[in-house]
């Protein structure tokens, strides 16, 4: 027997201004199944909530309807009140007579009647409500961090220091990312490696962190709290346990002239190499594509000379399986190369370089030991032109966004050039100066006022070579838009930051959304910048959008705290508004015929196969099963199922039809 209590809120004048609440309460009290019907000024207030609690106890209510604002506002409030009074919260629902009625109509009898109709429909539904109980999902308290740049490093340390285990996967032979390639960081001009390497070492030594370098994520399945990941540890051809980092193999390698990836092609490395001296782990890796042994079966000098016999040419890739509860994506970014620019020569001029290449020139441990030299002839350039916005903010080239970091690093580059070579001339062609961070504006002013870098507002139309110089054709829009031609010795393009290679594939493996630029999508641009729409997967750093180091570190710590919150208990609870497949007694077992239309439609991969077996193990039927950890209660499967064998708890067919038919 239904005993539903209906509470009509005035919401001040918001509802009472157009709906006659007293009349509504009176009419509703006569509805079949309604045992209590009152109206009150502010239901969400403490006294309002007490009205509900008292009525539940006094009148032994079997259900509660609060006719007020949108359930998005106060459903949790009223459900909590009911729970406190001993009524299952899922027997409490809200009729929206504000956004759906009083706010969209004028004061009239029709408006009052609509409010009555809405409540009547909901009463018919709530009569069929059943109590529901939260679902508990176990949580594996190990985190997977994908990407070992400063973002991944920070997130790993935060999670590990919170007492949880971390698996950090990095596809390069060493962690460190782009930050390890920089010479100095803005706005302090700290030596980048000096501030980074302590963190790198901390990661390597932390008891809670397991580091897999030269490794990639092969596959991910499962759901929040219960991910199953496979990591491919690529073969270094060096036994890491035996290797002591002495470096003899690197010195004696017979293939010495391979363009170094770490030096952005400006330096050379051998076929067996460590990307940079401060690499973590400091164990070499063999580049099979260029190693003589792998190409022709000859040489093997490293194997012969290694004092600890650590070289293993036959080493195979290893697949490592792990169970993790949460994942942090910190895969970083890459930048456009100079061959992207037709008007700047399609990359054929050696002395037109990218910002990262300039960092390697400026770096004390770089190919030129920190002296800025022209890649073409090794001479020190006397005039350097820096071009900001190369590729960014350019619809014609398909990159509309601003890459955020270039204004600052261009100022830094120009300053470093002037510091190293006082007589040199530095020009920066810019469109705007974006220096919004702390101490950023002061940094740029320093470049202009103290270091005498000449800033010209205008874009460069064309660069070509003449007599060993690069002719830069730009314009000064602050000086009558007149064309300015500069004969430069070197040009540095601040090329756009773009999503890293493989970002799309990784996002698809993890079922994480991404935008047209392949940056990973946050759950909400303002209020949820660290979460994705995939439960249990969080974002840190430039893989989400171009970002500088302070913001990356902040976001990484944010992701770390989300993981820590997720791991705060060994179980997590979920709302029970999920789909359920019909089950009944043998021999039918279920009206589900196993067509799995629902599985292909489910946006959250929440439908699984379930084999119903006889006692002897013979499979009698294969039906659909909903994973209660993943299902989000969207109802797509319910709409599609042709035999109506899957239903949504809290919004069953029976409930919905009752509500509709009562209209």
């Amino acid at each position: 027997m239904s005993r539903i209590g209906v509470f009509i809120c005035h919401c001040g004048e918001n509802i009472a201004g157009t709906v006659d609440c007293a009349k509504v309460a009176e009419v509703v009290s006569h509805l079949s199944g309604v045992a209590h019907s009152v109206d009150y000024k502010y239901m969400c207030s403490d006294p309002g909530q007490n009205l509900i609690k008292e009525a539940i106890k006094e009148k032994n209510l079997s259900g509660v309807i609060v006719a007020a604002c949108s359930p998005r506002m106060h459903e949790p409030t009223f459900r909590r009140a009911c729970a406190e009074a001993g009524l299952n919260p899922f027997l409490c629902e809200m009729a929206n007579i504000r956004e759906h009625c009083s706010w969209v109509h004028e004061k009239s009898d029709g408006t009052t009647q609509k409010a009555i109709d809405l409540i009547r429909m909901l009463v018919s539904k709530v009569r069929k409500n059943k109590p529901l109980y939260p679902i508990k999902v176990p949580v594996q308290r190990t985190a997977l961090v994908i990407g070992g740049g400063i973002g991944g490093i920070q997130a790993s340390l935060d999670i590990a220091n919170a007492g949880h285990k971390v698996i950090l996967v990095e596809r390069d032979p060493s962690i460190g990312g782009h930050m390890s390639q920089l010479s100095e960081t803005f706005p302090t001009l700290d030596c980048s490696q000096c501030i980074l390497t302590p963190r790198m070492v901390e990661v390597a030594q932390h008891p809670n962190i397991t580091l897999y370098t030269y490794s990639e994520v092969e596959s991910v399945s499962g759901f929040i709290g219960n991910f199953k990941v496979k990591i491919r540890k690529k073969a270094r051809c060096v036994d890491e346990k035996l290797c002591n980092g002495c470096g003899v193999c690197i010195q004696k390698c017979t293939v010495k002239k391979i363009p170094s990836e770490f030096d952005e092609g400006l330096g050379l490395r051998p076929a067996i190499y460590v990307p940079f001296p401060q690499a973590v782990p400091n164990k070499p890796v063999i580049d099979k594509k260029n190693c003589t042994y792998f190409i022709r079966g000859k040489c093997a000098a490293c194997e012969k000379l290694c004092p600890t016999k650590a070289i293993r040419f036959d080493q195979q890739d290893e697949i490592i399986e792990a169970d993790v509860g949460g994942i942090v994506l910190a895969t970083g970014f890459t930048i456009l190369n100079t061959d992207f620019f037709p008007e700047y020569g399609y990359g054929k001029y050696k002395d037109i370089i990218t910002g990262l290449q300039y960092e390697r020139l400026a770096s004390a441990s770089g190919p030129t030991l920190g002296v800025i030299k022209r890649p073409s002839d090794g001479k020190i350039p006397e005039t350097v032109v820096f071009i900001a916005c190369a590729g960014s903010r350019d619809s014609a080239k398909g990159i509309e966004y601003c890459s955020k970091i270039c204004c600052m690093y261009t100022a830094k580059h120009a300053m470093l050039y002037k510091h190293k070579f006082h007589e040199g001339k530095a020009y920066v062609f810019y469109m705007d100066i974006r220096a919004g961070g702390k101490m950023y504006e002061e940094f740029v002013r320093r470049a202009i006022e103290e270091d005498h870098v000449k800033y010209i507002r205008g874009r460069v139309s064309k660069i070509y070579e003449e007599d060993g110089k690069l002719i830069v054709k730009g314009a000064d829009t602050l000086l009558n838009h007149q064309p300015i031609e500069i004969k430069a010795d070197m040009v540095v393009l601040a090329t756009a930051s773009i999503a890293n290679q493989g970002a799309e594939e990784l996002a698809q493996k993890l079922h994480v959304s991404y935008d047209s630029y392949h940056f990973f999508a946050e759950a909400h641009p303002k209020l949820r910048p660290v979460e994705t729409n995939t439960a249990g997967i969080f974002l840190a750093g430039a893989c989400q959008a171009p970002k500088d180091i302070p913001d990356t570190v902040a976001q990484a710590s944010g992701a770390g705290s989300k993981i820590a919150a997720l791991f705060s208990a060994t179980e997590m609870t979920r709302e029970p508004v999920i789909a359920v497949v019909h089950r009944t007694a043998p021999p039918i077992f279920s009206t589900c015929v196993g067509c799995f239309l629902c599985q292909s439609a489910c946006p959250f991969q929440a439908i699984e196969r379930e084999e119903i077996k006889a006692r002897d193990g013979k499979v009698l039927k294969v039906v659909a099963k909903v994973n209660d950890g993943l299902c989000q209660g969207c109802g797509t499967c319910v709409a599609l199922c042709r035999s109506k064998s899957i239903d949504l708890q809290g919004f069953t067919h029976e409930q919905m039809y009752a509500q509709i038919m009562a209209s």
């Binding site: 037709p342 008007e343 020569g345 399609y346 064309k462 070579e465 003449e466």
Partner: protein
């Protein structure tokens, strides 16, 4: 033999006569049969699009409609300016239905967009794969500056022909006949366009820069595919040299003439005698294959070591 429609354009009847002559001379040898569009009219060139947009679309529309009437699928348009006008007009008509209707009413003909204008380089690329290299009897072993000008490659979104910056197709064709194209900075810089008569100084300035760069980088001749460019670089040479205080005598040839020479065709048939700057290409030294660039020698003197091209 492939049959292509042919739209010579006004200049090929007059100031660019040798372009028409050389094209007709090489056409049968490279497997093209030219079908001239009957009673074709002027495309309107710069004058029409500067003063009257409707007229500037209607005049090319008539040409396209006439080609369609002859069931021609492609129209070879050797003049780069006419080519640009025809492609741009066709693009506008096909993407703007009300405009297409209006223009069809004006010209009293329908334009369906089935006749595709192609430029000389596209035509040469098509046919060169039919064995241009095999028919070369006199390899064109000279260092050349391939000058594309503006209108063959821009605007890239509409023309979709070659790279807009540093295009390569003309260079490729010239390589096929044995030439050595240089990498230079003025491949697609404007020569001064239609200002030959009304603002000759501008032509002198802009064309002068082009010639200077070509000569400084060692070109022995400039190859063009546009009558206006040819006229500015060749006919206006006296003005250029006067304005720039220079003495450039580097010859300017149409690509069809260079190909004709390589195919062994007589130079009179190719109209080489019709240039203002005599087409004198240096004799190659056997050992180095290099000679002095054609610079700083008076126009009229014929010093030793230089002969008329055979």
């Amino acid at each position: 033999m492939i049959t292509i429609g042919y739209f010579p354009g006004c200049s090929l009847l007059g100031t660019a006569r040798e372009y028409d002559e050389s094209l007709r001379a090489i056409a049968p040898k490279i497997g093209i049969e030219l079908v001239e569009i009957p009673d074709w009219n002027c495309c309107g060139a710069t004058a029409a699009h500067s003063l009257n947009h409707t007229l500037a679309t209607a005049l090319p529309a008539r040409i396209l409609a006439l080609a369609e009437k002859e069931n021609l699928e492609e129209i070879l348009v050797p003049c780069a300016a006419c080519y640009n006008r025809l492609v741009m007009a066709q693009h506008e008509l096909m993407s703007n239905e009300p405009l297409c209707k209006k223009v069809s009413d004006i010209i009293e003909l329908d334009v369906k967009g089935t006749a595709r204008p192609i430029n000389i380089l596209e035509a040469l690329m098509k046919t060169s794969s039919n064995g241009l290299a095999q028919n070369i009897s006199k390899p064109f072993n000279y260092t050349v500056a391939c000058y594309y000008g503006c209108l063959l490659v821009r605007p890239p979104k509409v023309l979709q022909f070659d790279r807009a910056e540093d295009p390569q197709i003309m260079d490729e064709v010239m390589k096929k006949i044995g030439a050595v194209p240089i990498d230079w900075a003025y491949k697609t810089e404007c020569c001064g366009a239609g200002f030959s008569v009304s603002k000759t100084d501008i032509v002198s300035k802009l064309s002068g820069k082009i010639i200077k760069d070509a000569v400084t980088r060692g070109a022995e001749t400039i190859i063009v595919a546009c009558p206006m460019c040819h006229s500015n670089l060749d006919m206006r040479r006296k003005d250029i040299n006067q304005y720039n205080d220079s003495r450039y005598i580097i010859p300017v040839m149409y690509i069809t003439q260079a190909i004709g020479l390589a195919l062994g065709i007589d130079k009179k048939k190719l109209g080489l005698h019709r240039h203002i700057i005599p087409v004198t290409l240096p004799v190659k030294e056997k050992t180095t294959g290099k000679t002095q660039p054609a610079l700083a020698v008076s126009e009229r003197s014929a010093s030793g070591g230089k002969t008329e091209v055979e």
